[in-house]
Amino acid sequence: MVGIYSPSLITDWLVPGRDLFLTIHILGIACFLYIVAKRLVPLIRAERDLRFDRPLTRLGRVLKFWLGQWRHPRYKFAGTIHILIFAGFILLAVRAFSVLIVGVSENFVMPGLSGKAGHIYDIITDYASTVVFLCMLIAAVRRLVFKPARYAVPAKYGKGHTADAVFLLGLIAILMVADSLFSASNVAGHAQRGQSAEALATLSLPWLFQIAFGSMPLATLWVLNVTAYLVHEVTFYFLLCYRPFGIQFHVETSLFSIYFAKLERGALKPVRWGVPDERLDQVKSFGVKTFEDFTWKHMLDFYSCADCSRCADNCPANAAGRPLAPRFLTIKARDYAFQHYPVLGKANNGKSLIGNIYSEDEIWSCTTCGACEEECPLLVEYVDKIVDLRRGMIDDGNVPQSLQKPLKALENRGNPYGKMEKKKADWAKAAEFQRTCSVKILDEDNSARTLYFVDSITSYDDRIQSIGRSTSRILSHIGEDFGILGAAEKDSGHEVRRFGEEMLFMALRDHNTDAIKASGVQRIVTADPHAYNALKHDYKDVPPVEHISQVIAREVRAGNVQFNRVENEDKVYAYHDPCYLGRHNQIYDDPRAVLDAIPGLKRVEMKRSRDRSFCCGGGGLMLFYEPKEEQRMGVLRVRMAAEAGANVIVTACPFCMVNIEDAIKVAGMEGEMSAIDLTELVDQHLVRKVCPEKNVALETVSCGG
């Protein structure tokens, strides 16, 4: 890369080139380090976050999500453009350093990049800068002409971000052009002097520039060369120091954000990292109330967000017109952080986040479905932040009236409905049901291998009790020795925890843990994904837990259950992935395998399925919350099923059932669309051996199973 006359050798300016560029380097780097140090101040004042474990797993994730850009292709066009830019940056990194150093050391060659390797690298970077430049053009056209809807900024969140985005694209484009001009004028200069020069990559930007400007007089070329260098130098450092003021900061922070990203799905962060449950009473304040209550990793997330809006694009709350878009949860926090911790001057007095940065409705609007986290290319976390903000609101007594009643009922009665404990097992005592299946209630006299954890809604809701009965009949049919806890079972507390009421959750968890241990069961089965997630991730020291769909799928694969043919040929089924079965626990295939094992069952996939499933409206306490919204999430979901050509929605979650059945009515689609739980569908189609004299199924205990 030796120039016609290296910029470092300029002597006829006010200051020698070497001194000028050395000064720019030092100033640029010092400025960048100062800004970064300022940006780190809040992270140091932040709450603890223990993320230094499992380095190999974390490195693996860096390879996959950072270097491998794993999630980008989920949005094909934007993703491809980003992958190209990212690859270009990675390839150009070494060149960028070399070019900078050439300004102060004329004969510098990056070790390992002399001779043939250097030439190959030059060819690669010629193309890389060309590709990045073209991507900048395409991205700018996309922003200015095509204006994808997801980038729009609703008025309540301030002005649009297009100008800033285009400005950044322009800076990068200038960098690429300057670099290419510098290369082209170098090579052209060598050629004019009759020195041997490496050929530029055909059709690359430097190649084009060489053709355009190569025949200029040597003196002009020299001016072009030095000007290009100076522009490159200044733009590079301007960009470096400008990035920490906006979305481009992710260039620096994304590596760390992804390395330190959360590893466990479905689990929630503790109230305070490093504080065990029994010492929680000593913690003065719960949750996030001011900015410094966030953990350093959550602050890093704010810096890393690239404003791509994929989170908001997938957020059901946003789609339903609730006052929540995950993207702005982050952008607002970052804007506040920059204002609260200015680059010049001291940090000013913090204010409480709720009421100033966020609205209460915004924070209660989230169903914790996890669609945002599933989509974010930078693995930004949202559910933990929402829950932490709710913990803060609960701690301040700031809870909507609609949620206070069920929370109090949970405290008093162990279920959000305020129903009597002694009626918890009434669903299993209905005479009609008992004729076909008897359910043991586990106590001192009755034990079983498997616990069926029913949870509140299935125990008490008239419609949902049917899921409990179907689940029991299925467990009986496959010969499972099972029982229920009855009055001793309290709500799993899954939503209690996700609504921020940690202490109440702990009381429920401790009660249930004791009851489960006392029952002596070896495993737990549940048909409620929320209970499943709680038992799996929120409880400790309880036997292994499975969702009923996993149990049925295993029996199907083992050939232990057979299904009758679907009677109505006109029915087309679509499986709706419940958030806490799918996204949070990755159970996508088992329910589908069960459906596909039913002969004659026609199944279609909705456009949004599996990890892009669309939340039905939320479970547990979310059923009590009265959101401000334009329409119900469930209605949107039911329409998606209709669009896919389905007329039956199969769910595997009691809350999905409530929301979807309601939505079918609200959408006026009764008669055209129906909903059924996986267990109900299986129960209807099981091939049963019939006990001849009583004409009841064999699983009835009285028939001697």
Binding site: D281, G418, M503
Partner: protein, 262 residues
């Protein structure tokens, strides 16, 4: 401003199934769960909000037994400065007038500018506030749904039939009975209650307050409960099975037939 709020612990009807006991004059209390009476909770919240605006203290008081301490603790967790339990064997089975007498003696021991009660208890007769006001010779306003503090007096609005409201000026000290919906009471979680677990709650008896024992308790009660009824279960709802339009027409017809539409 020194504010006193009179609260009661009641079985919350939304969390209990009320059944008659063997005598048929009272309810089965074996499996009941109790809460602060809803309207009283609104009164406490209002008192806290007034205190936070103009300064002063909020005291909560209840007449009852040891079990009733839990509601006082909940109100302390909400933010009340002080709680007092009034309990004495002599007070058992007092009628409304008896309870008002006890509270009157308690109020006279203190120095309160404003006394709030809930509009009525879930199992009550909405009588304490009025009687207490009369016994103290304080002005009384019932069904209050907003309070503005002014110098030596309050502006209170009252809910009256048909959703109408009236605005009154009332001199301090006074007694008000608070309507639900006047505010949005803050949430009290388990953590809040644990944090006030060790705050002492003094118990005062007849001799502490100077209550004349013959004016309270069962012997002095002039109202005695004769019988108790729980609503009989009706035959259930009438289900409409037509199309949406037909059902809508039918509902209109039914509502109109029962005088629901004018």
């Amino acid at each position: 401003m020194e504010i006193l709020v009179c609260v009661r612990r009641v079985p919350d009807t939304s969390e209990n199934e009320i059944e008659l006991d063997a005598t048929g004059k009272d309810i089965e209390r074996e499996e009941l769960v109790y809460s602060v009476n809803e309207a009283d909770n609104y009164a406490v919240e209002e008192a806290l909000q007034i205190r936070d605006r103009v300064g002063g203290n909020v005291t909560v008081v209840t007449v009852g037994g040891e079990d009733d301490e839990e509601v006082l603790r909940r109100e302390l967790a909400m933010g009340a400065n002080r709680a007092v339990l009034i309990s004495d064997d002599a007070f058992i089975a007092s009628d409304g007038r008896g309870v008002a007498t006890i509270l009157k003696d308690f109020v006279q021991k203190g120095n309160y500018d404003l006394i709030l009660c809930g509009v009525q208890a879930d199992d009550g007769a909405a009588q304490i506030g009025g009687m207490l006001g009369a016994m103290l010779d304080y002005p009384f306003a019932s069904l209050v749904n907003s309070i503005t503090v002014e110098e030596g007096k309050l502006k209170v609005s009252r809910e009256i039939e048909g959703g109408n409201r009236e605005l009154n000026e009332i001199d301090l000290p006074c007694v008000l009975s608070i309507q639900t919906g006047i505010n949005e009471p803050r949430y009290v979680g388990m953590r809040g209650i644990r944090q006030v677990a060790s705050v002492p709650i003094p118990t005062l008896g007849a001799s502490d307050l100077g209550v004349q024992k013959d004016s309270v308790g069962e012997a002095a009660a002039k109202v005695r409960r004769e019988d108790y009824f729980v609503p009989a279960l009706s035959n259930g709802a009438e289900m409409l099975h037509g199309s949406r339009e037909e059902n809508a027409d039918k509902v209109l017809e039914l509502v109109a037939a029962r005088g629901g539409l004018k």
